[in-house]
Symmetry: C2
Subunit: 201 residues, 2 copies
């Protein structure tokens, strides 16, 4: 052991995450990162290897926590349907949703699509974890007859994820908090059991 690091790796990573959320990968320079992370160039490279590795690490932490916070809502006891609907509403209230600070997961997907294997792997892993929880909760809702017995749960899960993305994009596009809540409330209606046919043929 010798001289200890003068900066907090964890905090530096948080600041990097925030910047990547705002600007994405390509538009964020190493100088930008050094400035917000308050770390010297050499320290940054020593600790995080290079810009790409830092981005991937940041992405992994971000999406893992993001999925976890949604899963917590989904797994609350009580009505399964209410949990799903509540998860949407809680998400719409998240304080880190704003036009300035985007979702790093969506940023990564829009910026890299499926072209980057590492980015794809990280995104898919997180999506898989969310999907598992989601399917478990939806299955419970079906058993409890809160949703139609003939409902296609996979489609419901696709719709749920799509709604999350829609809310995030609306936030980034500058929509008001009020609008975000309304989107969540509205989407919630689609899950409810109904006797009549409600989808177009």
């Amino acid at each position: 052991m010798a001289r200890p690091k003068e900066f907090d790796q964890e905090k530096a990573l948080r600041k990097a995450i925030r910047l990547f959320c705002q600007q994405g990968f390509a538009a964020t320079s190493t100088d930008d990162l050094m400035r917000v992370m308050e770390v010297g160039r050499q320290s940054m490279y020593d600790t995080f290897s290079d810009k790409r590795a830092l981005f991937l690490k940041a992405l992994e932490v971000y999406v893992t926590e993001s999925v976890h916070s949604i899963n917590v809502e989904l797994e609350k006891p009580g009505s399964a349907l209410a949990s799903v609907q509540n998860a949407l509403m809680t998400f719409a209230q998240r304080k880190d949703l704003s036009s300035a600070e985007g979702c790093m997961g969506l940023n990564a997907i829009t910026e890299f699509g499926q072209r980057d294997g590492d980015v794809t792997r990280i995104s898919r892993n997180a999506a898989r974890v969310l999907r598992q929880t989601l399917m478990r909760v939806l299955t419970r809702a079906k058993k409890q007859r809160e949703i139609r017995s003939d409902a296609d749960l996979e489609s419901m899960a696709d719709f749920f994820e799509s709604t999350l993305a829609g809310i995030r994009m609306a936030a980034k596009a500058g929509q008001s908090r009020h609008a975000l809540r309304n989107i969540a409330a509205f989407a919630s209606r689609a899950y409810v059991a109904s006797d009549r046919r409600t989808t177009p043929e």
Copy 2:
């Protein structure tokens, strides 16, 4: 008049749009653009001023056409509710939705947020046009009693736009065409009139 241009400005712009759809602004170099547009550097600068101006022009054309194609579906005669639902389904079938080719509008918003005045202006203008059509159609649906009389149309419009964004993101994330259709079908259920309360309090 003197020597005419050897390339088709229109086609070159289309190719630029496609590249920006795939890679966004920052990750697309002028060399990339030249290669794809099959135009010499000087010709590109003579015709489109610079990279940023080319991007803004491409964005304007893209979002204008994108909104127009949705508006066409929304304004089809017959049931207003069916038009809304059909617009979603038609959108989910669009051939330019794929994991490779993203939506340039979403790219621009994720990449620039609200920080770039020109990008914001172009996006907002297009959104305003879509919103006008949407409100007109939703109002008609309400008059025709296809949706609840106490429905909040502004919220419905927010939800519609959010659904479009969700579908686009799902496509970019690599979801199957089948999944996209299901998202559209599912979202459609939220618009339908219902006597019981379907939204959480």
